[in-house]
Protein backbone atom coordinates (compact mmCIF):
# COMPACT_ATOMS: atom_id res chain seq x y z
CA UNK A 1 0.00 0.00 0.00
CA UNK A 2 0.98 3.64 -0.36
CA UNK A 3 1.39 5.93 2.63
CA UNK A 4 0.89 9.10 0.58
CA UNK A 5 -1.82 11.07 2.34
CA UNK A 6 -2.20 14.40 0.52
CA UNK A 7 -0.79 16.89 -1.93
CA UNK A 8 0.59 19.98 -0.23
CA UNK A 9 1.44 23.38 -1.70
CA UNK A 10 5.15 24.09 -1.38
CA UNK A 11 4.42 27.78 -0.94
CA UNK A 12 1.30 28.23 1.22
CA UNK A 13 1.08 24.63 2.55
CA UNK A 14 -2.59 24.21 1.67
CA UNK A 15 -3.55 20.56 1.37
CA UNK A 16 -5.31 18.88 -1.54
CA UNK A 17 -6.55 15.33 -2.14
CA UNK A 18 -4.34 12.91 -4.05
CA UNK A 19 -5.62 13.82 -7.52
CA UNK A 20 -3.92 14.39 -10.87
CA UNK A 21 -3.16 18.03 -10.01
CA UNK A 22 0.05 19.97 -9.91
CA UNK A 23 -0.57 23.51 -8.70
CA UNK A 24 -2.23 25.23 -5.77
CA UNK A 25 -5.57 26.85 -6.63
CA UNK A 26 -4.86 29.64 -4.17
CA UNK A 27 -1.30 30.81 -4.90
CA UNK A 28 -0.43 28.72 -8.00
CA UNK A 29 2.53 27.24 -6.13
CA UNK A 30 3.64 23.70 -7.02
CA UNK A 31 2.15 20.72 -5.19
CA UNK A 32 4.21 18.01 -3.52
CA UNK A 33 3.21 14.65 -2.07
CA UNK A 34 2.98 14.39 1.70
CA UNK A 35 3.22 11.05 3.53
CA UNK A 36 2.26 9.48 6.82
CA UNK A 37 5.86 9.14 7.98
CA UNK A 38 4.89 7.75 11.37
CA UNK A 39 3.12 4.84 9.74
CA UNK A 40 6.05 4.33 7.37
CA UNK A 41 8.51 4.23 10.28
CA UNK A 42 6.47 1.39 11.78
CA UNK A 43 6.66 -0.82 8.67
CA UNK A 44 9.97 0.13 7.09
CA UNK A 45 13.20 -1.14 8.63
CA UNK A 46 16.69 -1.70 7.29
CA UNK A 47 15.89 -5.41 7.30
CA UNK A 48 12.60 -5.02 5.41
CA UNK A 49 14.38 -2.94 2.77
CA UNK A 50 17.18 -5.51 2.45
CA UNK A 51 14.58 -8.24 1.93
CA UNK A 52 12.96 -6.29 -0.92
CA UNK A 53 13.64 -6.64 -4.65
CA UNK A 54 16.89 -5.23 -6.15
CA UNK A 55 14.96 -2.36 -7.73
CA UNK A 56 13.51 0.96 -6.57
CA UNK A 57 10.44 -0.95 -5.38
CA UNK A 58 12.41 -2.02 -2.29
CA UNK A 59 11.42 1.45 -0.97
CA UNK A 60 7.72 0.99 -1.83
CA UNK A 61 6.35 2.45 1.45
CA UNK A 62 8.00 5.76 0.54
CA UNK A 63 6.56 5.88 -2.98
CA UNK A 64 3.31 7.73 -3.80
CA UNK A 65 1.64 4.82 -5.57
CA UNK A 66 0.30 1.41 -4.78
CA UNK A 67 2.90 -1.20 -5.88
CA UNK A 68 0.17 -3.38 -7.38
CA UNK A 69 0.02 -0.85 -10.26
CA UNK A 70 3.77 -0.88 -10.86
CA UNK A 71 5.28 -1.23 -14.33
CA UNK A 72 8.60 -2.83 -13.50
CA UNK A 73 11.39 -2.93 -16.05
CA UNK A 74 13.95 -3.44 -13.28
CA UNK A 75 14.73 0.19 -12.58
CA UNK A 76 16.93 1.26 -9.71
CA UNK A 77 19.31 -0.18 -7.15
CA UNK A 78 22.09 0.81 -9.51
CA UNK A 79 25.77 0.49 -8.50
CA UNK A 80 27.50 2.93 -6.17
CA UNK A 81 31.10 2.61 -7.32
CA UNK A 82 34.19 3.72 -5.48
CA UNK A 83 36.02 5.97 -7.97
CA UNK A 84 39.63 6.07 -6.73
CA UNK A 85 41.26 6.84 -10.06
CA UNK A 86 38.95 9.76 -10.81
CA UNK A 87 39.32 10.94 -7.20
CA UNK A 88 43.08 11.02 -7.59
CA UNK A 89 42.85 12.81 -10.93
CA UNK A 90 40.79 15.65 -9.51
CA UNK A 91 42.17 15.78 -5.96
CA UNK A 92 39.71 14.07 -3.64
CA UNK A 93 40.34 11.41 -1.00
CA UNK A 94 37.02 9.58 -1.38
CA UNK A 95 34.71 9.75 -4.35
CA UNK A 96 31.75 7.56 -5.26
CA UNK A 97 29.91 7.41 -8.55
CA UNK A 98 26.20 6.65 -8.44
CA UNK A 99 25.98 5.00 -11.83
CA UNK A 100 22.45 5.46 -13.14
CA UNK A 101 23.52 4.79 -16.73
CA UNK A 102 22.57 1.14 -16.19
CA UNK A 103 18.83 1.63 -15.87
CA UNK A 104 16.53 -0.09 -18.42
CA UNK A 105 16.58 2.84 -20.87
CA UNK A 106 20.02 4.01 -19.69
CA UNK A 107 19.04 7.04 -17.65
CA UNK A 108 17.64 8.04 -14.25
CA UNK A 109 14.38 9.03 -15.97
CA UNK A 110 13.30 5.41 -15.55
CA UNK A 111 12.93 6.18 -11.85
CA UNK A 112 10.51 9.05 -12.27
CA UNK A 113 8.61 7.35 -15.08
CA UNK A 114 8.24 4.11 -13.04
CA UNK A 115 6.48 6.06 -10.33
CA UNK A 116 4.47 8.29 -12.68
CA UNK A 117 3.10 5.41 -14.73
CA UNK A 118 2.18 3.41 -11.64
CA UNK A 119 0.28 6.36 -10.22
CA UNK A 120 -1.31 7.06 -13.62
CA UNK A 121 -2.63 3.48 -13.75
CA UNK A 122 -3.89 3.85 -10.20
CA UNK A 123 -5.79 6.98 -11.30
CA UNK A 124 -7.30 4.99 -14.17
CA UNK A 125 -5.47 6.69 -17.05
CA UNK A 126 -5.09 4.51 -20.14
CA UNK A 127 -2.77 6.95 -21.94
CA UNK A 128 0.62 8.31 -20.97
CA UNK A 129 2.55 11.16 -22.58
CA UNK A 130 5.61 13.37 -22.37
CA UNK A 131 7.57 16.05 -24.21
CA UNK A 132 11.30 15.42 -24.30
CA UNK A 133 14.60 15.84 -26.08
CA UNK A 134 15.68 12.26 -25.36
CA UNK A 135 15.92 10.44 -22.06
CA UNK A 136 12.39 11.02 -20.82
CA UNK A 137 10.98 10.15 -24.25
CA UNK A 138 12.89 6.85 -24.30
CA UNK A 139 11.70 5.93 -20.83
CA UNK A 140 8.03 6.83 -21.34
CA UNK A 141 8.00 4.94 -24.65
CA UNK A 142 9.50 1.82 -23.04
CA UNK A 143 7.26 1.84 -19.97
CA UNK A 144 4.18 2.58 -22.07
CA UNK A 145 5.02 -0.41 -24.25
CA UNK A 146 5.54 -2.71 -21.26
CA UNK A 147 2.24 -1.61 -19.74
CA UNK A 148 0.34 -1.77 -23.05
CA UNK A 149 -0.86 1.82 -22.65
CA UNK A 150 -1.57 4.39 -25.35
CA UNK A 151 1.71 6.28 -25.43
CA UNK A 152 2.30 9.75 -26.88
CA UNK A 153 5.81 11.11 -27.15
CA UNK A 154 6.43 14.66 -28.39
CA UNK A 155 9.93 15.54 -29.53
CA UNK A 156 11.44 18.55 -31.31
CA UNK A 157 11.86 17.91 -35.04
CA UNK A 158 15.61 18.66 -35.00
CA UNK A 159 16.50 15.75 -32.71
CA UNK A 160 19.48 13.53 -33.53
CA UNK A 161 18.61 10.25 -35.25
CA UNK A 162 19.85 8.12 -32.35
CA UNK A 163 17.45 9.77 -29.96
CA UNK A 164 14.53 9.38 -32.34
CA UNK A 165 15.29 5.67 -32.76
CA UNK A 166 15.60 5.28 -28.97
CA UNK A 167 11.92 6.14 -28.66
CA UNK A 168 10.59 4.90 -32.02
CA UNK A 169 11.72 1.33 -31.35
CA UNK A 170 8.97 0.97 -28.72
CA UNK A 171 6.32 2.12 -31.25
CA UNK A 172 4.64 4.92 -29.32
CA UNK A 173 2.69 7.62 -31.15
CA UNK A 174 5.88 9.59 -31.83
CA UNK A 175 5.27 13.21 -32.76
CA UNK A 176 8.04 15.44 -34.13
CA UNK A 177 6.99 19.02 -33.50
CA UNK A 178 8.15 21.86 -35.71
CA UNK A 179 8.65 25.19 -34.01
CA UNK A 180 10.78 26.95 -31.47
CA UNK A 181 11.53 25.50 -28.06
CA UNK A 182 8.93 27.84 -26.52
CA UNK A 183 6.32 26.79 -29.11
CA UNK A 184 6.78 23.10 -28.24
CA UNK A 185 6.51 23.90 -24.53
CA UNK A 186 3.30 25.85 -25.09
CA UNK A 187 1.70 23.22 -27.30
CA UNK A 188 2.41 20.40 -24.85
CA UNK A 189 1.06 22.35 -21.90
CA UNK A 190 -2.16 23.00 -23.85
CA UNK A 191 -2.46 19.32 -24.77
CA UNK A 192 -2.03 18.31 -21.14
CA UNK A 193 -5.08 20.40 -20.25
CA UNK A 194 -7.21 19.09 -23.13
CA UNK A 195 -6.35 15.39 -23.43
CA UNK A 196 -7.27 12.54 -21.07
CA UNK A 197 -3.67 11.38 -20.64
CA UNK A 198 -1.23 11.31 -17.80
CA UNK A 199 1.34 13.80 -19.06
CA UNK A 200 4.11 12.57 -16.79
CA UNK A 201 5.79 15.87 -15.95
CA UNK A 202 2.64 18.01 -16.08
CA UNK A 203 -0.61 16.72 -14.58
CA UNK A 204 1.03 13.91 -12.59
CA UNK A 205 4.24 15.85 -11.95
CA UNK A 206 4.00 15.76 -8.13
CA UNK A 207 4.08 11.93 -8.23
CA UNK A 208 6.57 11.70 -11.09
CA UNK A 209 9.12 13.88 -9.31
CA UNK A 210 9.01 11.66 -6.22
CA UNK A 211 10.76 8.85 -8.10
CA UNK A 212 14.05 10.76 -7.89
CA UNK A 213 14.16 10.33 -4.10
CA UNK A 214 15.04 6.67 -4.61
CA UNK A 215 18.54 7.79 -5.62
CA UNK A 216 19.04 9.17 -2.11
CA UNK A 217 17.65 6.03 -0.49
CA UNK A 218 20.01 3.85 -2.49
CA UNK A 219 23.09 5.95 -1.80
CA UNK A 220 22.37 5.94 1.94
CA UNK A 221 21.71 2.20 2.00
CA UNK A 222 24.76 1.40 -0.14
CA UNK A 223 26.98 3.47 2.16
CA UNK A 224 25.77 1.37 5.11
CA UNK A 225 22.81 3.55 6.10
CA UNK A 226 24.59 6.88 6.27
CA UNK A 227 24.91 9.93 4.05
CA UNK A 228 28.03 11.34 2.35
CA UNK A 229 29.59 14.72 3.14
CA UNK A 230 28.86 16.16 -0.29
CA UNK A 231 26.68 15.36 -3.30
CA UNK A 232 27.18 16.75 -6.80
CA UNK A 233 24.04 16.48 -8.90
CA UNK A 234 23.21 17.61 -12.44
CA UNK A 235 20.45 20.21 -12.63
CA UNK A 236 17.93 20.72 -15.43
CA UNK A 237 14.58 21.61 -13.83
CA UNK A 238 16.29 21.34 -10.43
CA UNK A 239 13.82 18.67 -9.33
CA UNK A 240 16.32 15.80 -9.03
CA UNK A 241 18.58 18.00 -6.91
CA UNK A 242 15.86 18.94 -4.43
CA UNK A 243 14.44 15.42 -4.27
CA UNK A 244 17.76 13.81 -3.36
CA UNK A 245 17.97 16.13 -0.38
CA UNK A 246 14.35 15.42 0.49
CA UNK A 247 15.13 11.69 0.31
CA UNK A 248 17.96 11.94 2.84
CA UNK A 249 15.79 13.94 5.23
CA UNK A 250 12.95 11.43 4.92
CA UNK A 251 15.22 8.50 5.78
CA UNK A 252 16.11 10.34 8.97
CA UNK A 253 12.43 11.11 9.62
CA UNK A 254 11.50 7.42 9.47
CA UNK A 255 14.43 6.49 11.70
CA UNK A 256 16.68 4.73 9.20
CA UNK A 257 19.67 7.12 9.34
CA UNK A 258 21.14 9.88 11.50
CA UNK A 259 20.34 13.46 10.64
CA UNK A 260 21.97 14.19 7.26
CA UNK A 261 24.73 16.81 7.19
CA UNK A 262 25.31 16.49 3.46
CA UNK A 263 26.17 19.57 1.42
CA UNK A 264 24.26 19.62 -1.86
CA UNK A 265 25.91 21.14 -4.93
CA UNK A 266 24.48 21.34 -8.42
CA UNK A 267 26.02 21.28 -11.88
CA UNK A 268 24.88 22.93 -15.10
CA UNK A 269 26.25 23.57 -18.56
CA UNK A 270 27.42 27.15 -19.09
CA UNK A 271 25.18 27.29 -22.17
CA UNK A 272 22.09 26.73 -20.00
CA UNK A 273 22.79 27.75 -16.44
CA UNK A 274 19.89 29.72 -14.98
CA UNK A 275 20.28 28.09 -11.55
CA UNK A 276 24.08 28.20 -11.34
CA UNK A 277 24.08 31.81 -12.57
CA UNK A 278 21.56 32.82 -9.89
CA UNK A 279 23.73 31.08 -7.28
CA UNK A 280 26.80 32.97 -8.52
CA UNK A 281 24.85 36.23 -8.32
CA UNK A 282 23.65 35.45 -4.79
CA UNK A 283 19.94 35.52 -5.60
CA UNK A 284 17.10 33.00 -5.32
CA UNK A 285 15.44 34.48 -8.41
CA UNK A 286 16.84 32.98 -11.57
CA UNK A 287 16.49 34.55 -15.00
CA UNK A 288 15.21 32.14 -17.70
CA UNK A 289 17.74 31.49 -20.50
CA UNK A 290 17.64 30.28 -24.08
CA UNK A 291 19.59 26.99 -24.02
CA UNK A 292 22.69 26.65 -26.17
CA UNK A 293 24.72 23.65 -25.07
CA UNK A 294 25.65 20.14 -26.14
CA UNK A 295 24.18 18.92 -22.83
CA UNK A 296 20.66 18.84 -24.19
CA UNK A 297 19.34 16.60 -21.43
CA UNK A 298 19.98 19.50 -19.03
CA UNK A 299 18.78 22.22 -21.39
CA UNK A 300 15.89 23.64 -19.40
CA UNK A 301 16.04 27.42 -19.67
CA UNK A 302 13.09 28.00 -17.35
CA UNK A 303 13.49 25.45 -14.55
CA UNK A 304 10.35 24.72 -12.53
CA UNK A 305 12.31 23.87 -9.39
CA UNK A 306 15.12 26.37 -9.80
CA UNK A 307 14.01 28.41 -6.80
CA UNK A 308 13.81 25.30 -4.59
CA UNK A 309 17.21 24.08 -5.78
CA UNK A 310 18.72 27.41 -4.75
CA UNK A 311 16.96 27.16 -1.36
CA UNK A 312 18.41 23.66 -0.90
CA UNK A 313 21.91 24.98 -1.59
CA UNK A 314 21.34 27.65 1.01
CA UNK A 315 19.98 25.14 3.56
CA UNK A 316 22.87 22.69 3.11
CA UNK A 317 25.72 25.16 2.57
CA UNK A 318 26.17 23.69 -0.87
CA UNK A 319 26.57 25.53 -4.13
CA UNK A 320 26.55 25.36 -7.91
CA UNK A 321 28.95 25.41 -10.81
CA UNK A 322 28.80 25.49 -14.59
CA UNK A 323 31.01 23.96 -17.28
CA UNK A 324 31.74 24.88 -20.88
CA UNK A 325 31.00 22.47 -23.71
CA UNK A 326 34.70 21.62 -24.10
CA UNK A 327 35.02 20.96 -20.36
CA UNK A 328 31.97 18.69 -20.61
CA UNK A 329 33.53 16.63 -23.41
CA UNK A 330 36.86 16.43 -21.57
CA UNK A 331 35.03 15.27 -18.44
CA UNK A 332 33.08 12.58 -20.32
CA UNK A 333 36.44 11.27 -21.51
CA UNK A 334 38.05 11.58 -18.06
CA UNK A 335 35.25 9.58 -16.43
CA UNK A 336 35.52 6.89 -19.11
CA UNK A 337 39.33 6.71 -19.00
CA UNK A 338 39.60 6.60 -15.20
CA UNK A 339 36.53 4.63 -14.17
CA UNK A 340 35.26 2.76 -17.23
CA UNK A 341 31.92 4.56 -17.23
CA UNK A 342 30.67 6.07 -20.48
CA UNK A 343 28.27 8.85 -19.54
CA UNK A 344 26.17 11.13 -21.67
CA UNK A 345 26.93 14.84 -21.69
CA UNK A 346 25.04 15.44 -18.42
CA UNK A 347 27.58 13.15 -16.73
CA UNK A 348 30.33 15.28 -18.26
CA UNK A 349 28.67 18.35 -16.78
CA UNK A 350 28.68 16.77 -13.33
CA UNK A 351 32.30 15.61 -13.46
CA UNK A 352 33.50 18.92 -14.95
CA UNK A 353 31.69 20.90 -12.25
CA UNK A 354 32.94 18.55 -9.54
CA UNK A 355 36.48 19.20 -10.78
CA UNK A 356 35.90 22.94 -10.69
CA UNK A 357 34.46 22.76 -7.18
CA UNK A 358 37.51 20.87 -5.92
CA UNK A 359 39.87 23.30 -7.66
CA UNK A 360 38.10 26.30 -6.16
CA UNK A 361 38.11 24.77 -2.68
CA UNK A 362 34.31 24.65 -2.53
CA UNK A 363 34.66 20.90 -1.97
CA UNK A 364 37.48 20.08 0.43
CA UNK A 365 39.79 17.19 -0.36
CA UNK A 366 38.63 15.24 2.71
CA UNK A 367 34.91 15.50 1.99
CA UNK A 368 33.47 12.13 1.03
CA UNK A 369 31.63 12.97 -2.19
CA UNK A 370 29.05 11.25 -4.37
CA UNK A 371 28.71 12.30 -8.02
CA UNK A 372 25.44 11.35 -9.73
CA UNK A 373 25.89 10.10 -13.29
CA UNK A 374 22.40 10.04 -14.72
CA UNK A 375 22.57 8.86 -18.32
CA UNK A 376 24.54 6.58 -20.64
CA UNK A 377 27.00 7.84 -23.25
CA UNK A 378 25.64 5.95 -26.25
CA UNK A 379 22.79 8.48 -26.26
CA UNK A 380 25.14 11.35 -27.11
CA UNK A 381 27.99 9.80 -29.11
CA UNK A 382 27.99 12.78 -31.49
CA UNK A 383 29.36 14.89 -28.60
CA UNK A 384 32.61 12.93 -28.45
CA UNK A 385 32.97 11.98 -32.10
CA UNK A 386 36.10 13.59 -33.51
CA UNK A 387 37.43 14.11 -29.97
CA UNK A 388 38.79 10.61 -29.43
CA UNK A 389 42.13 9.03 -30.28
CA UNK A 390 41.94 7.58 -33.79
CA UNK A 391 42.29 3.79 -33.89
CA UNK A 392 45.44 2.36 -35.42
CA UNK A 393 44.58 1.16 -38.91
CA UNK A 394 46.92 -1.65 -40.00
CA UNK A 395 47.04 -4.46 -42.53
CA UNK A 396 46.70 -7.98 -41.08
CA UNK A 397 50.38 -8.30 -40.18
CA UNK A 398 51.91 -8.33 -36.70
CA UNK A 399 54.98 -6.42 -37.94
CA UNK A 400 52.76 -3.68 -39.36
CA UNK A 401 50.91 -3.49 -36.07
CA UNK A 402 54.11 -3.20 -33.98
CA UNK A 403 55.46 -0.56 -36.33
CA UNK A 404 52.26 1.47 -36.14
CA UNK A 405 52.20 1.13 -32.34
CA UNK A 406 55.77 2.38 -32.05
CA UNK A 407 54.99 5.31 -34.34
CA UNK A 408 51.94 6.19 -32.26
CA UNK A 409 53.92 6.07 -29.01
CA UNK A 410 56.66 8.24 -30.48
CA UNK A 411 54.07 10.78 -31.60
CA UNK A 412 52.44 10.78 -28.16
CA UNK A 413 55.81 11.19 -26.44
CA UNK A 414 56.59 14.09 -28.79
CA UNK A 415 53.28 15.73 -27.95
CA UNK A 416 53.93 15.27 -24.22
CA UNK A 417 57.41 16.79 -24.51
CA UNK A 418 56.05 19.72 -26.52
CA UNK A 419 53.30 20.27 -23.97
CA UNK A 420 55.82 20.07 -21.13
CA UNK A 421 58.12 22.53 -22.88
CA UNK A 422 55.30 25.00 -23.35
Amino acid sequence: MSYAQALRCRECEREYPLDPAFFCQFCFGPLEVDYDYEAISRVMTRESVAAGPPTLWRYAPLLPCDPEYKVDLGTGYTPLLRADRLAEAIGLDTLWIKNDTVNPTWSFKDRVVSVAIARARQFGFTGIACASTGNLANSVAAHGAHAGMDTFVFIPDDLEEGKVVGSAIYSPALVMVRGSYDDVNRMCTELSHDQPWAFVNINVRPYYAEGSRTLAYEVAEQLGWRTPDHCVVPMASGSLFTKIWKGFKELHQVGLIDEPQTRMSGSQAAGCSPISTAYAEGTLNFRPQKPNTIARSLAIGNPADGFYALKTMQETEGGAEMATDQEIIDAVKLLAETEGIFAETAGGVTVACLKRMVESGHIRRDEETVAFITGGGLKTIEAVQGQLTEPLRVPASSDAFLEALEARRATEAGVAVAAGGA
Partner: protein, 81 residues
Protein backbone atom coordinates in the same frame (compact mmCIF):
# COMPACT_ATOMS: atom_id res chain seq x y z
CA UNK B 1 -15.05 35.34 -19.53
CA UNK B 2 -12.00 33.18 -19.09
CA UNK B 3 -9.13 32.99 -16.61
CA UNK B 4 -5.50 32.39 -17.44
CA UNK B 5 -2.53 31.97 -15.15
CA UNK B 6 0.77 33.44 -16.23
CA UNK B 7 4.20 34.21 -14.85
CA UNK B 8 5.77 37.46 -15.97
CA UNK B 9 9.54 37.83 -15.62
CA UNK B 10 11.04 41.32 -15.81
CA UNK B 11 14.62 42.15 -16.71
CA UNK B 12 16.19 44.86 -14.49
CA UNK B 13 15.45 47.61 -17.04
CA UNK B 14 11.70 46.89 -16.75
CA UNK B 15 11.43 46.52 -12.98
CA UNK B 16 10.50 50.16 -12.44
CA UNK B 17 7.89 50.24 -15.22
CA UNK B 18 4.21 50.03 -14.04
CA UNK B 19 3.48 47.40 -16.68
CA UNK B 20 0.76 45.51 -14.82
CA UNK B 21 -1.10 48.76 -14.19
CA UNK B 22 -0.78 49.69 -17.87
CA UNK B 23 -1.95 46.26 -18.98
CA UNK B 24 -5.08 46.58 -16.83
CA UNK B 25 -5.86 49.98 -18.35
CA UNK B 26 -5.11 49.24 -21.98
CA UNK B 27 -7.02 45.95 -22.10
CA UNK B 28 -10.32 44.71 -20.71
CA UNK B 29 -8.47 42.33 -18.43
CA UNK B 30 -8.60 42.03 -14.64
CA UNK B 31 -5.14 41.40 -13.15
CA UNK B 32 -4.87 39.51 -9.88
CA UNK B 33 -1.38 39.06 -8.36
CA UNK B 34 -0.92 35.74 -6.52
CA UNK B 35 2.84 35.56 -5.94
CA UNK B 36 5.69 37.92 -6.68
CA UNK B 37 9.28 38.75 -5.89
CA UNK B 38 11.55 41.53 -7.05
CA UNK B 39 15.21 42.07 -6.36
CA UNK B 40 18.02 44.03 -7.97
CA UNK B 41 18.65 41.50 -10.76
CA UNK B 42 15.22 40.20 -11.71
CA UNK B 43 11.54 40.49 -10.88
CA UNK B 44 8.71 38.04 -11.40
CA UNK B 45 5.02 37.96 -10.71
CA UNK B 46 2.44 35.19 -10.97
CA UNK B 47 -0.85 36.61 -12.19
CA UNK B 48 -4.38 35.51 -12.88
CA UNK B 49 -5.74 37.32 -15.92
CA UNK B 50 -9.52 37.40 -16.33
CA UNK B 51 -11.35 38.56 -19.44
CA UNK B 52 -12.41 37.47 -22.92
CA UNK B 53 -9.90 34.92 -24.29
CA UNK B 54 -8.92 37.12 -27.26
CA UNK B 55 -8.42 40.13 -25.03
CA UNK B 56 -6.24 38.10 -22.62
CA UNK B 57 -4.18 36.91 -25.59
CA UNK B 58 -3.79 40.48 -26.86
CA UNK B 59 -2.71 41.68 -23.43
CA UNK B 60 -0.09 38.91 -23.22
CA UNK B 61 1.23 39.78 -26.65
CA UNK B 62 1.46 43.42 -25.57
CA UNK B 63 3.44 42.41 -22.47
CA UNK B 64 5.80 40.36 -24.65
CA UNK B 65 6.23 43.33 -26.99
CA UNK B 66 7.33 45.37 -23.97
CA UNK B 67 10.08 42.83 -23.24
CA UNK B 68 8.34 40.81 -20.53
CA UNK B 69 8.97 37.06 -20.58
CA UNK B 70 5.65 35.23 -20.26
CA UNK B 71 5.47 31.62 -19.03
CA UNK B 72 3.05 29.14 -17.56
CA UNK B 73 3.38 29.85 -13.80
CA UNK B 74 4.14 26.52 -12.17
CA UNK B 75 5.71 24.15 -14.64
CA UNK B 76 8.60 25.99 -16.23
CA UNK B 77 9.74 24.28 -19.42
CA UNK B 78 7.85 21.03 -19.94
CA UNK B 79 10.15 19.70 -22.65
CA UNK B 80 12.60 17.69 -20.55
CA UNK B 81 15.82 15.92 -21.40
Amino acid sequence: MAKQHVRFTFEPNLIQEPLIYQLGHQFEVITNIRMADVDASVGWVVLELEGEPDEIERSIEWARSKGVRVDEPTLGDVVEG
